[in-house]
């Protein structure tokens, strides 16, 4: 079969095609296959890897447009997924600057993480000398978010980043903000919440691609929603926030639980103010990433009951005067 790899040598883009026998492909992981190609066919091929055990996050690439952790993906599974194709196309992660071939630049991501100050400031009853006290339930509340290995799969798929990255951050950055903000040891969730709001919290387009592709099963989308609820509870609904927020509440409780981006955009910003967003929606529809029929409602999403609970809590807070 043919493995087609999108190349970039620092100056120009091109493609390389490697012919492999099926027995050379089977039994390999995607990572060991890349290593095999480098070793036997083309030493100039560049990619990164360290742990080969799905824990360091170094090896994410795209196959036929979708992100995979190369070391954790068996070629047999890929062949099955794509129905024994004649060829497969491997490319670097999307929404990152490509340095060369399959290697991307992580520096902007680190600087975005810096914005949300990912480390907690512990409550004053705790000290460095004796540590903290925390219940297992409180650990469990943020346990999933701590599985993030900074592989970038979510960012590669993110439709908002693809449409316009200038007012947004990688989905995992929100996950990191949330796990700090929601930590029971944390003195002040605002430290993480405020920069999340300032850097695009309300701009997520709810496509949930990040959830689908995370190799660790993390929902950055869910974390973004949780941060929004937190923001509303704190009355942080300036700017585009409040209308968006209200629409969000309505959708969550009365709708099918799956945020309907078109409805939301129309409702919160008015049709006219919203031409740019409609472009995004149109592009998403074209790419098959958004179903226009959702405007008429669809199936209930998983965890809907949870969301309703969250929103109801927010409403209660609203009655008590925390949300204006």
């Amino acid at each position: 079969m043919k493995i087609i790899i999108e190349r970039f040598d620092g100056k120009k883009k091109y493609e390389s095609t490697y012919e492999l026998r099926i027995d050379e492909v089977k039994g390999q992981t995607l990572l060991s296959l890349l290593q095999y190609i480098k070793r036997t066919q083309d030493i100039t091929l560049n990619f990164t890897a360290a742990c080969r055990m799905a824990i360091c996050g170094a090896c994410a690439v795209r196959v036929n447009g979708h992100s995979y952790l190369a070391c954790d993906t068996k070629m047999e599974e890929l062949l099955e997924e794509y129905e024994n194709p004649e060829s497969m196309r491997i490319s670097p992660l999307n929404n990152f600057r490509v340095i060369t071939d399959l290697v991307v630049d992580w520096e902007p991501s680190i600087e975005n993480l810096r914005k949300v100050k990912p480390t907690i400031t512990p409550k004053s009853e705790f000290s460095e000398k004796t540590g903290c006290v925390q219940t297992q339930a409180d650990v469990d509340a943020i346990k999933k978010q701590w599985d993030c290995i900074l592989c970038g799969c979510c960012a590669s798929e993110c439709n908002k980043l693809e449409a316009d990255a200038s007012d947004y951050m990688q989905p995992f950055v929100f996950t990191h903000a949330y796990r700090a903000a929601d930590d029971s040891r944390s003195k002040d969730p605002m430290i993480h919440l405020k920069p999340a709001i300032a850097n695009g919290l309300w701009n997520c387009v709810h496509c949930q691609e990040c959830v689908d592709r995370c190799p660790k099963g993390i929902s950055s989308f869910g974390d973004i929603e949780s941060l929004r609820v937190m923001a509303m509870k704190k009355g942080l609904n300036e700017g585009m926030g409040p209308a968006h927020a209200e629409a969000f509440l309505l959708d969550m409780v009365e709708g099918d639980g799956r945020l309907n981006e078109i409805k939301l955009a129309l409702r919160s910003e008015g049709v006219l103010a919203n031409t740019t967003k409609l472009d995004i929606a149109y592009n998403l529809m074209k790419a098959g990433k958004m179903n226009p029929l959702h405007i008429f409602g669809g199936e209930k999403i998983e965890g809907h009951a949870e969301l309703v609970k969250m929103v109801e809590a927010a409403r209660k807070a609203e009655k008590e005067g925390t949300i204006k």
Partner: protein, 614 residues
């Protein structure tokens, strides 16, 4: 300078030359910027920073944070060959040792004793006694820094047993302690204003007279060789177990670059022959199957269908790591194993467990079996073989309290360093403690040293080294064939495994020393056919391979001369421990590019040397 518009070029220039903007992470601007240009001796205006940390595993990140906390006016830059979170630290699963419960019989004394005994008495007791006290502090500090440890019923940090320990003092966070620890440290470093120089590879350490003046880095993105001046440098580049290239549990980047650079700078490599083997690695490539598999009753089976551990230990599969590892290798040598050569293996049978039990307790291991060998341990026994796991040896430390080396201004921490805490054998859970404790000490040591310096070195040596490397890169990227280097590396790993692995003999080691010279000669003539310097990963492979050859030569010399069995070092021709002649550290340095060996006494203060029995 705004946070957003921050290119890497700006960074090197500004991090380094107008330190203020960077060091500032919001507060007090450092006075260094001015100092930098005037009195520093840095006349060429080379990029410079107060403390340069190389390597961003647990040790490097702890060091960087320690500097920021204690010396907020100093600038700190962490260099890494790649994105900072790709390291060995994140791979640790089990836990991190440190006594935090003193109510139920455990104490610093007992942790120290277990560590000394575990080291087969090659550990330096003065360092170990301090280490275990700092271990307790380290756990609380990590907790305070936001590490989400699992919790006990009383809401304090949860802990379990680890091999060789009398009490439960291995603190853990699910089965991902290392990953969670590393991300805690990374988050803290990011939050505290530590700057990262991603995709930079340490080539050499530079000296001004008898002091360290900085380091020479390869900017992997552009191929530029960049000398960076620093008042203090911390090496935290991890271990060198990739000498066994395809039989190790460690990441591809565990190539001992920092140790090799230190050797070239004239420093000593202490106890290089002390490499730890783990009994259960996956057949293909040596990824780790954790001890828990044997803890849950996993049986080891040979090609005769025998549960062969009955021949070697009363404790069967639960005997200590080194004994189980040797037993498996013996079976392989007796012809009682499956497969051939490097892919020989025995079976690990867990089929007595239900699928539910496996999914609850060993999900990761099942996954690994499926991934690498396409075998499901719920249904069938899976192939395993011992795998190289940890480097006890490392850069010789002059003083544990600040992790300084014998080169003023140069500090080392974590697996790269050898403060002789683990001696001839590291206990499970003690190395995450090592990274956290020695990382902090090295950071504080480097900070203190840097704050006392009035300026930078002249940069002359750094500049010369940079030019030398540049010329070399031109030459070596101008020819060769694709697979030549990789074939040689494969063979190198195999030979190290066969001749310097779990079983060692004088004859084999002697022959191996010669063959390593040949590897060196072949390597010296090697070229790689890729002149494009944009993130040239083949060039990085080449550089790492060169370092591994040098470190293997040192290890081979140490192993050849250590005519005894101690800890992980097992000599068939000298099957006993010899405290009369070898209660000593091997100290290897380079003379004219050749390893030479000297010895140094082990420090024994409190715990008399006795037989190591379990």
């Amino acid at each position: 300078m705004s946070e957003q518009k921050f290119t890497r070029r700006d960074f090197l220039q500004s991090a380094c030359i107008s330190v203020g903007a960077l060091a500032a992470s919001g507060s007090g601007v450092s006075a260094l910027a001015a100092d930098n240009k005037k009195d520093s001796g840095n006349k060429d205006g080379l990029p410079s920073v107060d403390v340069l940390v190389i390597g961003s595993g647990g040790a490097g990140l702890r060091a960087a944070v320690a500097v920021r906390k204690k010396y907020p006016n100093l600038s700190v830059v962490v260099v890494n060959k790649g994105m900072p979170s790709r390291n060995a630290t994140c791979m640790a699963e089990g836990g991190i040792n440190g006594v935090i419960d003193f109510e139920h019989g455990d104490s610093h004394e007992l942790h120290a004793y277990d560590t000394v005994k575990g080291s087969d008495f090659l550990g330096d007791q003065d360092a170990i006694i301090k280490f275990v006290e700092k271990a307790t502090e380290a756990i609380h500090e990590l907790d305070y820094a936001g590490m989400p440890f699992n919790r006990q019923k009383n809401n304090t940090v949860a802990r379990r047993f680890a091999g060789g320990a009398k009490y439960e003092r291995c603190n853990y966070a699910a089965d991902k302690t290392g990953s969670i620890l590393m991300h805690t440290c990374l988050d803290e470093a990011i939050t505290r204003g530590v700057k990262f120089l991603l995709d930079h590879y340490l080539l050499d350490v530079a000296m001004d007279g008898d002091k360290c003046e900085g380091a020479v880095l390869l900017d992997m993105q552009t191929g530029d060789v960049t000398p960076v001046l620093a008042k203090a440098v911390v090496l935290a580049t991890g271990g060198y177990t990739r000498v066994f290239f395809n039989r190790t549990s460690t990441p591809f980047n565990a190539s001992g670059d920092g140790i090799a650079a230190a050797l070239r700078a004239g420093l000593a490599f202490k106890d290089p022959e002390m490499l730890q083997f783990h009994p259960t690695g996956i057949r293909t490539g040596g990824a780790l199957i954790t001890e828990a598999a044997r803890g849950l009753g996993g049986k080891l089976i040979n090609n005769k269908g025998e549960r062969f551990m009955s021949k070697y230990s009363k404790r069967m599969e639960l005997a200590p790591r080194d004994i189980v590892a040797r037993s498996i290798e013996t079976e392989i040598r007796l012809g009682n194993a499956f497969g051939e050569g490097m892919s020989s293996y025995v079976l690990l049978d867990l089929t007595h467990l239900s699928e539910e039990q496996i999914m609850n307790e060993l999900p990761q291991i099942r996954h690994v079996g499926l991934l690498f060998d396409g075998m499901d341990l719920v249904k069938e026994p899976i192939p395993i073989r011992p795998t190289a796991h940890y480097s006890m040896g490392g850069i010789e430390i002059a003083k544990f309290d600040d992790m300084s080396t014998h080169l003023p201004g140069l500090f080392a921490a974590g697996e790269t360093s050898c403060a002789s805490i683990h001696g001839a054998n590291r206990l499970g859970g003690n190395s995450l403690t090592d990274t956290t404790v020695t990382g902090k000490l090295a950071g504080e040591g480097a900070g203190e040293y840097a704050s006392k310096q009035t300026g930078f070195g002249s940069g002359k040596h750094a500049h010369e080294l940079a030019q030398k490397w540049q010329a070399k890169f031109k030459e070596i990227t101008s020819g060769g064939t694709s697979n030549e280097m990789y074939d040689l590396r494969e063979e190198f790993g195999k030979q190290n495994w066969d001749n310097m692995g779990i079983y060692r003999t004088g004859d084999k080691l002697e022959a191996h020393a010669k063959s390593l010279e040949e590897f060196q000669a072949k390597y010296d003539a090697l070229k790689i056919p890729n002149p494009n310097m944009t993130y040239n990963t083949a060039l990085i492979d080449y550089l790492e391979f060169g370092n591994l050859i040098m470190l293997a030569r040192c290890a081979c010399l140490g192993a050849l001369e250590r005519k005894e069995c101690r800890g992980a070092h097992f000599r068939e021709d000298y099957p006993k421990r010899d405290d009369v002649n070898f209660l000593k550290h091997s100290i290897v340095t380079l003379k004219d590019g050749k390893p030479t060996l000297a010895y140094k006494d082990v420090v024994i203060t409190k715990y008399p040397v006795e037989e190591r029995k379990y």
